[in-house]
Structures are given as C-alpha cells and as structure tokens.
C-alpha cells in the first residue's frame, strides 16, 4: 500500500505542511523512521527525534510548534494517538485474506458458514461445525466435529481445534494454537501402568479472547475449560483441563496452569509462571515472571513472586538477604568466635 500525504490527511482529518505528494508504505517509530514511512510525535519527550527523523511524513498535534526545521512533511491532527491507532489498524488489516471459500478446503456438507467468511486452502472443517459471519479461517486449519465458532474471528494457519469446542465472537487464535487436546489424566494400576482417563469435556473461549502462537488449551475431563471474555494469552502457554480464567486476565508467554485451577479476572501473569492444580487465584492478582504459585491467593489485587510464591515485597526483601548469605554466614562464625572469647574472658574474670 502506497499512500500520499494528501490522502492520509483526508483519512485523518488533518492538514498538510510540506510536500503533499510524498508517499509512504508503512508506519515507523520516530527514532527509527526511514524514508517511505510515516512516523509520529505523540510524547513530547521524543521531540528531539522530530528534527532528525528520516521518515517521509510526521504526524503531529495541531498545536505542535517546532523549534528547529523538520525535513519530513507534517500532517497535523487533533489527537495524535487516535490517528496512529487508526493508521496502524488500517495497515494491519490490509494483509488479511479476502472473503471466499477455497476450492481445496475440505468442508463437510453440513457445515454452516456465516456471510462473508474466508476459508483458506487445505483447511479441514468437520461435520456439525458452525462458523459466524466475517470470520477468517486461514489455510491449513483443522476444525473438529461440532465446533462452534462465532463471528469476526481470525484463525491463523495451522490452528487445530478438537471436536466440540466453542469459540466466541471477535477471538484471534494465532498460528498452531491447539484448542481441546486431551487433558493429562491417567490412573496408575498396582504395577505402575497408567490407564488413560477419557477426556470428554470441551473448551469454551468467550468473546474477545486472543491466544498466542503454539499455546495449548486442553479440554476438560468433564465439563469445560473456560476462558472468559477478554482473556489475552501470549505464546507457548499451557492451560490444563478444567481450568477457568476470568475476564480480562492477561498471561505472558510460557506460563502454565495445572488442572482445575481457577484464575480470577483482571489478573496479570508474568512469563514462565506456573500454577499448581486445584487452587483459586483472586481477582486482580499480579504474578511475577517465573513464579510458582503453589497455594490459593485469596486476597484480591496482591502481587506475588518466587517459587513457591510469596508476597512480592517479602520475596524481594528475602532475596536481598539471600544475596548476602555468604557474608552473613561469616558474620555468624565471627559472632560464635566472639562469644567463645567472651566466655573465656568471663570465666577468666570469674577465676580472677
């Protein structure tokens, strides 16, 4: 997409200062702006970059008064942040495939497709599936029997959804996400051989859920593994059977949640954090990266850290002393020697 300063100013309801015919094909950060890109000055802290940037167009506030000459063509707008967001969405959407069903997609005859859906080549959609309007299924996706998918959903290439799972509206599943694989359930017999416990529940993603690439969400043993509206998961996360994650909780990459644990809403979970099974984590909890949450968190809004996790401040304070342990150990030895010496002196006093 090549777009000129004039066209952009019309889209953004702005005014042009400089060459109106210059064109750009991508946005850039002001400190990294290259010719052919549009950059922006929203935070006054970055103003100095405005005088150095190589970007062809610079988006600035209506009230911005440059103190030095600027090479870029300026577009002045009322609200720079709103204009950027509008532009970023425009640039990001141009890559989505057009509506239409690929000839070489294996779609069972009873599948219900909403209006304006896009089904990519070499995707497989089994019987009983329904897919809402405006949903994009990229190539090489697998959708098992009786899966329900809402409207305006994006399934990137390689997504695999096992039978019976449900995906709400406006969800985004990145490449190779797995939804509904069997939970990890086995019963050992007396010889240590494991017998598989059939996993016959499903996974339910409510609306506006986004799931990062290669993340796995296991189906429930019975009932449902549930991600509530607005949940955002990063890449390579493990969500075990019968887990529930509350509204608008965000979880960073490589975290893992063991079976039947319930995470509250509005929680922020750091990368590589782990949760044991069968616990409850209160709303608004903040779990530091790499923490191991081994017990329920009952009080809302608290931060934890460490493995097993402690209150955030307590862990930092304990760790600050941990670093000094070799010195502390030496201090204790010194104290022991001093006490031994004092004892000798006292007994010397006694003798005296």
């Amino acid at each position: 997409m090549q777009i000129s300063a004039t066209e952009l100013s019309q889209l953004l309801d702005g005014t042009v200062e400089g060459d109106p015919t210059v064109t750009v094909s991508a946005p850039s950060k002001i400190e990294e702006g290259t010719p052919g890109t549009i950059s922006f000055l929203a935070n006054p802290k970055y103003e100095s970059y405005a005088y150095q940037t190589q970007a062809s167009i610079l988006l600035v506030s209506k009230n911005f008064q440059p103190s030095h000459p600027i090479n870029a063509t300026l577009i002045r707008v009322e609200n720079v942040y709103a204009a950027i967001t509008f532009l970023l969405e425009k640039f990001s959407q141009e890559h989505q495939p057009a509506a239409g069903v690929a000839t070489q997609a294996a779609i069972h005859e009873d599948v219900k497709l909403g209006e304006n859906t896009s089904i990519g080549i070499y995707s497989v959609i089994e019987s009983g599936v329904s897919i809402g309007a405006d949903t994009i299924v990229y190539p090489q996706v697998y959708i098992g029997k009786d899966v329900k998918i809402g409207k305006n959903v994006i399934l990137y290439p390689g997504v695999k959804i096992y039978h019976g799972c449900e995906i709400g509206d406006h969800c985004i599943l990145h490449a190779n996400v797995i939804i509904g694989s069997d939970g990890f359930g086995f019963l050992p017999d007396k010889d240590g051989n494991f017998k598989k416990i059939p996993q016959i529940g499903n996974v339910i993603l409510e609306n506006n859920v986004e799931i990062g690439a290669n993340t796995v969400i296991d189906r429930a043993t019975m009932g449902s593994t549930v991600l509530k509206t607005g949940v955002k998961l990063d890449n390579l996360i493990q969500v075990a059977h019968n887990v529930e994650i509350g509204e608008n909780t965000a979880i960073a990459a490589q975290a893992g949640i063991a079976g039947s644990t319930k995470i509250g809403k509005n929680c922020l979970i750091g990368g590589q954090a782990g949760f044991v099974g069968h616990i409850k984590v209160a709303d608004g909890s903040k779990v530091q990266a790499q923490s191991g949450v081994a017990a329920s968190i009952t009080e809302p809004g608290k931060a934890v850290y460490g493995s097993p996790a402690l209150p955030y401040g307590d862990y930092l304070k304990a760790y600050a002393v941990f670093k000094q342990l070799p010195a502390i150990n030496r201090q204790i030895r010194a104290l022991e020697r001093e006490i031994a010496q004092l004892k000798g002196e006292i007994s010397g006093n006694d003798v005296a």
Copy 2:
C-alpha cells in the same frame, strides 16, 4: 449421541429407577450436572450433591440408599467406577474418524498400510513408511521417509514425524507434536561461528506412549532418543537428543530434558521442571514442578525440589527460613550489638 436410561442400563448391566425414557448426550460431574447429562455417585463424600444435581440420570451403586428424594433417574450398577470408565470411553470414541484413506492424502506408492487404518485429508506419507492396523492418522499429518508406526495408534492433526523414527503400538500423539527434529548440536570455530553437527539418529517411542500437544522430541545425534513403554508426556515438553525415558514415567507440561540424560522408570516429573544434560535420574524419582535437576539422582524413589534441586524436605525447610531472612538479618545485627555491649561491659569489669 442421545441414549436412553433403558439403553444405558442394558449397556452397563444395571437396573433403572425412575423414568426409563429419559435421554442423555454426555456425562457430567455430579456437582455440575445439567439436564441431558448422566452423572455418577462413586465417592460417598459427594452424596449431598445427589439430592441437588440437575443431571437427568444418576449412576449409583446397587447398595446405595438415598436419605432424601432424588430427581434424577437412577441406574444402579455393581461397580460405579467401572461403569463410568466404560461410559467415558464410549463417549470419547464416538469422535474418532472412520477407517478409510482420504483421496487427497499424499501417500507414496510403496507405503504399507495395515487393515482398517484411517488416513485423513491433506496428510503426507513419504516413501518407505509402514503403518499398523487400526491406526488413525488425522488430517494434515506429516510422516517422513521410512517411519514405522505400530497398530492402534492415533496421530492427531498437525503431527510431524521426521524420517526414520519409530512409533510403537497403542501410542497417542496429540496435535502438532514433533518427533525427530534435529538435536541442538553445533561446534563453534575459533571465531565463534557455529558449525552444525548433523543429527543422523532417530526417535523410538515404544508401546502405549502418549505425547501431549506441541511437545517436541528431538532425534539422536547418533543412535536413538528413546521413550520406553507406557511413558506419558504432557503438552509443550522438550526432550533433547539421545535422552532416554524409562517405563511408565509421567512428565507434566513444559518440562525440559537436555541432551543424553537418562530418566528412570516410574518417575513423576512436575511441570516446568528442567534437567541438565548427561545425568541419570533413578527409578521412581519425584521431581517437583519448576525444579532444576543439575546432577544425577542416584537413590531410587526420592523427591527433589528447587533450582538447583535439593531433597524435597530440605528445600522446603530451607525455603521456610528463606522467608524469614529479613528478620534473621535483623536478629544478627541485634546480636552483634549485644556482643559489642557485652564486650564493653566486660572490659568495664576488667577496668573495674
């Protein structure tokens, strides 16, 4: 699948009490039972739920004597656990694809397929492959040259098996499992550039092995990476080149095992645990989640915890003191002051 109380009682060799025409389509937990599901009372601790459950059918023991009225139709059986397992397996199998080879599967002409196999659409099976009877290959699976696959195996969508690997009987590989990718082996030259060490071994899964979604098992440099009979791996696990895992060892999600390490049989490994390379872990070891096993475990049946891992009880005791380190640090300062004071007093005594 809709099935009536009468049909179920015949399947389970049980007797009906209540409406024999009521139908169900899925099992449920007694505390979550909804209309149209069959629930069960196996553990007497859950008896109170029997009087509240919304499940349409309740599976109970022949000897169960309700102390209150129950809304659900009862089916009485000799052994509730055995009946549940039978039912769960029945419900879970109904989703498997039928035998048959998809027209649009790319199967080399020299591939040997056993009886009653199912090969899904857009799967690719290279030359020299053999696949045993009753095995199900879902769509979009890749099976490299000369791979051997046993009977009654399930390969879920997106599984990729590199050339020369061997999968035993009754194995289950969940979606996007990777078998036989190159081990991570490089030799740095004097300038720090890495030269790849070709990885020409393979991976052998013996019988009854189950591998969770997105787990990766690398091929050996030479020889084989081996998972013995009955090994169960959860999702997103890393198994490096030349690792061996003993019979009936179970490993939870996101654990990682570095190259050439040998894990014994009947071990239980927690989620996100890590093992350095070239160590041996004794049979029956229990490794707590997030532990880092940095040295061989020589005594069988021991539990470890921490990073680097310590004996389980030792880690918990040390961590209990770790939490108190700030207080302990203050106590040591107090001791130092007291001793200084005592010294003064003693020297005062001396002076006196």
Copy 3:
C-alpha cells in the same frame, strides 16, 4: 543407502584393512555400534570399545596401532573427525526431498522461485513472495504475503511465516516454527478491557540462523524483530516483539525473551531462562538454565544464575548457604541463648 568399505575408503581418501565388501547403512557411536553400521575411534579414551564394538566398519587414524584383535573392517584416514563430519553430512542429506514443485502446492502466480527449489505438497505461498535458489520448502508450510526467503534455506513441515517477514540465506526452520505472529500488545481501558495494539512490524532472520521446532518469534509492533547472522535457537523458545539477538548467540530450549530486549552476540543462554523486556544483555554473556534476567547485563562475558539472576559464582555461594539455612537458624538461636546466659553471668559478676 548401503555403502561398502571400498566405496567409503574412496570417498574418505582412506585405506581398507579387512573385508572390503562389507556394507553399512548408518553411522553409530563406538560404544553402541551394531552390525551394518560404521563407527569411529577419534578420542583415544574410547580405544577399549574398538575391541568390543559390533560395528561392521571402524574409522581410525592412519597411525592407530591396535593392541588387541578387532572384528570390524578398518578404514584408516588422515583426520578421523573430518571424515566423520563428511560422512554425517552425507547420511543426513540423503533424506532431503528432491528439487521440484508439487502439483498440489498453492503458489500465487506472482511468486518468484529461484532455481532448484523444492516446494512440498499442501504448502501455501501467498502473493509477493520470493524464494532463493536451492531452498527446500517441505509439505504443509505456510508463507504469507510479501515474505522474502533466501537461498539454500530449509523450511520443515508445518512452518508458518506471517506476511512481510524476511529469512536470510542458509537458514533452517524446524517443524511448526512460527515467524511473525503478533506481538503481545494491549492497552487496558479504564474498565480493564484490553484494546489490541496492531503489530505492523516484521521479523528479520539474517543468514545461517537455525530455529528449533515449535519456537515462536513475534513480529515487531513497528520496525523489526531481528535475529542476526549465525543465531541458533533450540525448540519451544519465545522471542517477543522488537527483540534483537546478536551474531552467533545460541539459546537452549524453552527460554523466553520479553519485548524489546537486546541480546548481544556470542551469548550462551541456558534452557528455560527468562529475560524481562526492555533490557540489554552484553556480548558474550552466559546465562545459566532457568535463570531470570531482570536487569541489563552491562559487562561483556559474564555468567549469571538465579531468579532474579546474580553473578554466577555469587548465586552458587549464596545457594550453598541457603541449603544450610535451617542449621544456621538453629545456630542463631543458640547464639541468642548464649548471649542471654553471658548477660546473666556478667550481671551476676556485677552483682558480685
């Protein structure tokens, strides 16, 4: 591939001692050598195995003087290591698919393919893509719009590359690697609902980069996520948006790097290590497995360990004391008692 001792000796410029007609189909380690394989004696420490090995052919130095009889046919060469590497590469390359474009690959009409490329069945290559000479695209790969791929690259089955990303020459991407998925960026509104920040940058892999199976590299918000020449990543690694990784840095499995962090060149990163976002890690840093790097590392060539990470030796020394904390705690209690007793004695002295 069956190859005789005579043929091998010609390939390796060596001389045969023993049966020149014996054939082998694979290399083996000397301690695991089986009939039909070729093993090697490079390190004198392994000499005793030479007299026991079952391998049909044994590769030895020109100067090797056996002290006992050897069953295997010997091939004597000038440089055993060089001969092994040559052989391993020969055995490993025979599995690669031949050049040619599969009929059932979905390749947009404007795609530019270099000479001698191999495009596997059920792969999808969108418009605007260019692929260099001698590159192998295995089956079931997805390459998004406007992606640039260099020459002599291998993309294993299931690799997914999002639009606009760039892959240099001689790169290897293992099965199900994801390149260019959206970075994890959201802005919470006042009610805690997240608004997605469009991710419109890309990923650039320079030359000679190898990426392990199921690893994910997110696209930049704006600009590029960059892996410089010679970077080697193991399996299941997370690389977040706008990360940069320097030349010849190697990272072990399941490590994770949060957004905008810059890793230097020639670093060695252990498995399951984590890095917070927006930090810089100096060239030549060594990060121990499972460490959590929570602040920039400014001095080159240093090793760190722990979570949060400390200088390597400091962590080990502190952890050595950590193990003794229960004993130390008891010692402090003993000191307190002794001091109390001394006080009593001193005050007794005073009284006296």
